[in-house]
């Protein structure tokens, strides 16, 4: 008997180990909980709910009334307003992504030289990072406003015809693109500046001694080295551009004649103005798919041109 009490029985051992495993898992769960709750409430639940709604007809209160399968999707793909919104969005995204990347690259290259005052310019170029969407939009509104806007005042001073920034079909889209590009520049500039700093100076010095021209240096030394960052900036800008809302809401409200009606704005109108949650959910789903597709395509297309070390 004495022997039995002192020795640990096999079944005791397993239960003890089991308890340890459970404790470890509970501890892990405890650490995960905050982000799980956060992501669950604000990401996963809305995501699932959106998928769910997109298969339903909803009433004005946003409640699902009738399951209609893929009917929402079918209708949308024949809806001229949505198709136009899709088209405008694609133009907008292409313009914003390319303009932001190119302008930021240009500015970063300018601010790269260690001259007097470069720091001031760097700060200025990066400062749009600290401006909120609404402030930026209002700021540009001062510029775009008909007759009283800065743009028209300047044009008037030189006796030039005014530009219908917010009312012309094309100009309105240009105005929104300008505002968004301006907002994005700060971050893109900062990221590209950082990448430029990381190009080894010895390569430039070697090239300098070999008599390589500035353009060739840029093309064969700078570009390959910063290509991962350029790719990153372009991807992030693109995804952000797809989700632009504030600028449209404050500058044009999607007008004139839906020429600046980006998808996210269309979703907003369908959900909160037209109170058609089912349609809005379907549009959201399509937007998500679109972003995924375009990003995937971008990865595939640029994969070979980007040099990772």
């Amino acid at each position: 008997m004495a022997q039995n009490t002192s020795a640990i029985q096999p079944h005791q051992l397993t239960s003890q180990r089991g308890r340890q495993v459970i404790t470890a898992h509970l501890t892990a769960l405890g650490f995960l909980m905050p982000s799980l709750i956060f992501l669950g409430v604000f990401v996963f639940y809305p995501l699932v709910k959106t998928v769910y709604y997109s298969f339903f007809l909803t009433n004005a209160l946003g409640q699902p009334v009738k399951f209609i399968g893929l009917a929402n999707y079918a209708t949308l793909l024949h809806d001229p307003v949505f198709l136009k919104s899709l088209w405008v969005t694609l133009i907008f995204v292409a313009a914003v992504t390319s303009l932001t990347t190119i302008c930021a690259l240009y500015l970063a290259n300018l601010a790269r030289k260690h001259l007097r005052g470069t720091v001031i310019f760097r700060t200025l170029f990066a400062s749009t990072m600290g401006v909120s969407v609404s402030v930026a939009s209002v700021l540009w509104l001062f510029f775009f406003q008909p007759t009283t806007g800065v743009s028209d005042m300047i044009l008037n001073f030189f006796h030039l015809p005014p530009i219908h920034w917010l009312t012309g079909n094309v100009w309105a889209l240009v105005a929104v693109i300008l505002t968004v590009v301006w907002m994005n520049l700060g971050f893109a500039f900062l990221a590209i500046s950082g990448a430029l700093e990381n190009v080894p100076t010895h390569l430039y010095e070697t090239a300098e001694i070999e008599g390589v021209t500035p353009w060739l240096k840029f093309r064969f030394i700078t570009l390959p080295h910063i290509s991962p960052t350029l790719f990153f900036v372009a991807t992030v800008t693109m995804i952000n551009a797809f989700q632009t809302f504030g600028q449209v809401d404050l500058l044009t409200k999607g007008g004139p004649n839906n020429h600046t009606n980006l998808i996210v704005y269309q979703i907003y109108r369908d959900a909160f103005v037209n109170l058609n949650v089912g349609k809005a959910s379907t549009e959201s789903m399509l937007l998500a798919i679109l972003i995924a597709l375009v990003t995937f395509a971008q990865f595939k297309l640029t994969e070979k041109r980007v040099m990772y070390q």
């Binding site: 080894p200 010895h202 390569l203 010095e205 070697t206 090239a207 300098e208 001694i209 070999e210 008599g211 390589v212 021209t213 060739l216 064969f220 030394i221 390959p224 080295h225 040099m307 070390q309």
Partner: protein
Amino acid sequence: MIELKQLQKVYDQQQDAVIKEVTVNILPGEFFVMVGPSGSGKSTILRMIAGLEPITGGDLIIAGERMNDLPPKARHLSMVFQNYALYPNMTVSENITFGLKARKVASATQLQRLSDALALVGLTDYAYRYPRELSGGQRQRVALARSIVSGAEIILMDEPLSNLDAQLRESVRYEIKALQRKLGITVVYVTHDQTEAMTMGDRVMILNDGVVQQIGTPMQLYELPANTFVAKFFGTPQMNVLTAVTDWKNQGVAIDTPFDPDAMVGIRPEAARLNPENADDMAIEFWVATATQIGSETLLFGTINGREETLQFKISGHLDVPAEQFITLYIPRNALHYFDLNGNMLAKVGV
């Protein structure tokens, strides 16, 4: 080939010059080594020659032409960097011909020079590899090939072997030297490694704090060091320098210095013998603290009776020298170096 006349570098007007009036004439076909501890200014001088660093005083004359204000490409030279500076996005052959392409050299000439250079450094089979696929030694050889292919008669090398491991360093050292001989080019070579300087250089310039300490052939620097800095820089273990020696007899050393009252005496570690060779050899009563066998030699650490400095002596052969006791070491008179109290050479007995 390259003349430096009172070359100076001042970064900040309020502060002392980093390079103080360096004057030297580097001859065509010479392997010229600039050596010194880090921060001595040797790389700065090299970068001033290359045109990567502006010259703030004096003249730089290359092939009879003043080059101070000309851009690097107008100086007709090439440079090899410590970290090779290969373009990572280009293959070996693209790396080598990039400079030629930029200068719009005819493509037939490019190919010819490329294959010559690749053969010269033994990398013909690696022409289409990327730098990341090569070992350190191979990368360094690509950098060399790139320099050679430019056709420049001057190649500047900034610590080109520092990133290689010790064994490789030795073999590449000879390769570089042989290549230089074969091509008859002028090489200005910067290193902090005294062995590299001694084995590679036709002439060596030793720098400290931006001041030239001595210029000469490796043997001159070793045998007739101009000051204690040079004396201690060359040779391992470094030269023993005994300061302010006045009363030698009572310090356990039977020698009268020819430089009364005070002088510094330098003794190379390898000058010590266990048995006298000449009648007038200096005899030292040496307290052996430790004796270390390193292969074919024995290193002795210890002190001379009554003095504070730790001295090192190197005796060839396996010796069973007992530690913690006195032994008598004999040093030939002609192996003694004398310096004044500022460390400048006075004379060397017997030379």
